[in-house]
Amino acid sequence: MAQETDEQQIFRRHCREWLENSIPPPPTVRLPQQAIGIMTLDQLGYLQRWQKSAYGAGLVGCDYPVECGGGGRKDCQRIANEEMLKVKLPYFPNVIGLGMAAPTIFYHASDALKRKLLPRLFSGEEIWCQGFSEPGAGSDLASVQTFARRTGDTWIINGHKVWTSLAHFASWMILLGRTDKSEKYNGLTFFVVPIKAALGKGVTVRPLIKASGETGFNEVIFEELEIDDAYRLDAVGKGWQVAMTTLSHERGAGQMVMPSSGSQTDSDYSSIAGVKEVIELSQHTFRPDGGVSAHDPVIRDQLMRLLIRDEGMMQSMRVHQVAALREHPTRIPLQGKLVVTELIQEVAELALEIEGASSTLYVADNNAPAGGRWAQAYINSFANTIAAGTSEVQRNILGERVLDMPKSK
């Protein structure tokens, strides 16, 4: 067990002290469950104020160099996150920026670009979105067709990106584009694109409606958009390698720890997937014969199955934090996305079974249990098991990168 460094110890104290007096007031608007569900400027504004405040105190971007707007510390983001998990806080709104754009920029952009982009990314003043998926490029990301053709020092972009969360608020997009049609992987190049500035001038953002009836994703269409070559990351034709940096961070298996706040701790079970809420739900919903759901032994068994998986998942992340127990660098982190998204789906489905007849009621119905939250959660759960690498692709990745089995494609 490596002991904490002096820097880490001092920084941990700093975090604690600052947090003691800096927890933001509760929001006046109802917040979505995740940042990618932000719908209104009111919601965004509240969360941006929190991110800016945490950034100001040095709790965001701790491990990035000072000249990029970071804290210049070593392995301290983890400490800040741990302290931010201990108190009840909102989450950061700029999740694509912090989780994916920042490390990608850090590892692949020019120094000038890092200095230009990262400070306002960390502060949350500029929101980021991700332009990867296309109608014909989902699981098979390398088949993207959005084309960038070069004219001197500018690139002209045409194409169609889909499932871009936060695009309607975003100043910037990280974009994986094609610059050579003759080579699949080596024909890709990576850009940062100032989409807000170009709205109506080559960029159109349109909301996509989810199966739940809500908006939340967007499609972004590029028509003869011109951008400067300075917005290119790494070399022409190296886009796939750059995208791998993005994706490894998205999967929690990258080098840089993502700044994060907002989980609610609980002295007993802090359930990620909402199992605890469903146990609560079962206490005041009824089986078809009128019995309380929480008294049905089969329902109890199913609830415990999910509770055990929930706890097992959290404890396995705890195992990963112990260096001596970490026999493979990405075995546990690469499981996270797969495990949590499937668990959330099953929890929501069990909640509907527990609600029984009243699970038919949707969010607009005054009699819907928990405000119809679980029906909505179930429908939306597929966005999570599909987006950012479907569960099927996640299992390929785990089988290939961790268990070293041959590629399935």
């Binding site: 409606i209 079974e353 699970s359 607009a364």
Partner: protein, 380 residues
């Protein structure tokens, strides 16, 4: 009684199934369904029943709404297996209509065996649509949520009924208030409050009865409901089987046409194998639906009716698990498009979720099945 190996699928019954398949596929292709029920994605839209009344009139003219009503009451007098086959085809197009509630209500009315019930069956034959108002706020039969008082002219009902299926498409309610009572929806004092529901292909309501005149159909309401439960479960499960077959075929088609990694995705076992498993689930649920319908059609003594109830609970349990898996896989395997409003799969997934909890989910059916097969622990 000895049951026919072919479930009673005689020529008439087979013809009905084929005609219904052809008719529904032609009249309500999925694009038309989407236009009909999914025009407004806003979850806070008004809870208006979206259905095609003209199409329903055609169904009535074909006599399919009265397929399982005995000939003396003017119906086609066909066996329940014909009704199940019809519901399967209706489920396959996720038909928004009062067909299921009317067929189920007919089973209740047949069990009532009273002149009033006979009269209502005749009205059904003429085109009246009927639904059941028999559940309390918890979705159970436990509380006396509606009470009936005898008056000089008949009966008066007071109280609330919940989870009334396709109420906005119905002309007459069968209300549980100790006994069972018939109430036309236009009767003064009936207040139908539509629910905002997830399923886009159905409507649902809770209903207030405020000194509502009603006609007695049967004294022993709960007994009649129990008696008709196997048939009602079977019809519901048939709808689910048909819907699941659509979910299977649509997803298979997508898997054959969507190319990723230089292969149609059906090449990948992570896509192919779950679809095979779904096919197996569907075939078992369908078979149990037919077995249940056949057993109900041929029951002559108590042992037969126990057998019929077993098959019916098996059918609903099997169909519910099938529907859960079908909805999950049809959405998941459609990938990015699968969780959008414009894709059709959510219409079916929502209908299936609704059907899964109606009349009790799989876990509940298995509990009652175990009580029959294994006896009740403690030996009541």
């Amino acid at each position: 009684m000895r049951q026919p190996r072919d479930f009673g699928f005689d020529e008439q019954c087979v013809q009905l199934k084929q005609a219904a398949r052809h008719f529904f596929q032609k009249k309500l292709p999925t694009q038309a369904l989407h236009t009909l029920v999914a025009d407004d994605p806003d979850p806070f839209r008004a809870p208006v029943a979206r259905w095609d009344r003209a199409l329903w009139q055609e169904i009535v003219q074909l006599g399919w709404h009265a397929v399982a009503i005995p000939e003396p009451a003017g119906g086609a007098g066909m066996p329940l297996v014909a009704g199940a086959a019809l519901m399967e085809e209706a489920g396959r197009v996720a038909l928004p209509s009062p067909l299921l509630t009317t067929l189920q209500s007919s089973c209740v009315l047949k069990a009532c065996n009273s002149p009033a019930a006979h009269a209502l069956l005749e009205a059904v034959v003429r085109g009246s649509t009927v639904t059941l108002a028999v559940l309390d706020k918890n979705g159970t039969h436990q509380s006396r949520n509606v009470t009936a008082s005898k008056t000089d002219n008949g009966y008066v009902l007071d109280g609330f009924a919940y989870f009334v299926q396709d109420a906005a498409k119905s002309d007459v309610l069968i209300v549980r208030a100790g006994g069972l009572y018939a109430v036309p929806v236009t009767t003064p004092g009936v207040k139908i409050v539509p629910d905002h529901i997830v399923d886009l292909t159905r409507d649902q309501a809770h209903i207030e009865f405020d000194k509502v005149d009603a006609a007695l159909l049967a004294e022993e309401g709960d007994a009649i409901l129990r008696l008709s439960e196997p048939a009602r479960l079977t019809l519901l499960a048939a709808d689910m089987v048909g819907a699941a077959e659509w979910q299977l075929q649509t997803t298979v088609d997508y898997a054959k046409s969507r190319v990723q990694f230089d292969h149609p995705i059906g090449f990948f076992q992570a896509v192919k194998h779950p679809l095979v498993d779904l096919m197996v689930l569907i075939d078992q649920a369908r078979a149990l639906v037919y077995a249940a319908a056949c057993a109900i059609d041929h029951q002559t003594d108590h042992a037969d009716s126990v057998q019929a109830e077993k098959y019916a609970r098996m059918a609903k349990a099997s169909a519910s698990d099938m529907a859960s898996f079908a909805s999950k896989k049809s959405t998941q395997l459609h990938g990015g498009i699968g969780f959008t409003w414009e894709c059709f799969v959510h219409l079916y997934a929502k209908r299936q979720k609704h059907s899964q909890v109606m009349m009790g989910d799989a876990t509940y059916q298995r509990r009652l099945l175990a009580d029959i097969v294994m006896g009740i622990p403690g030996g009541k």
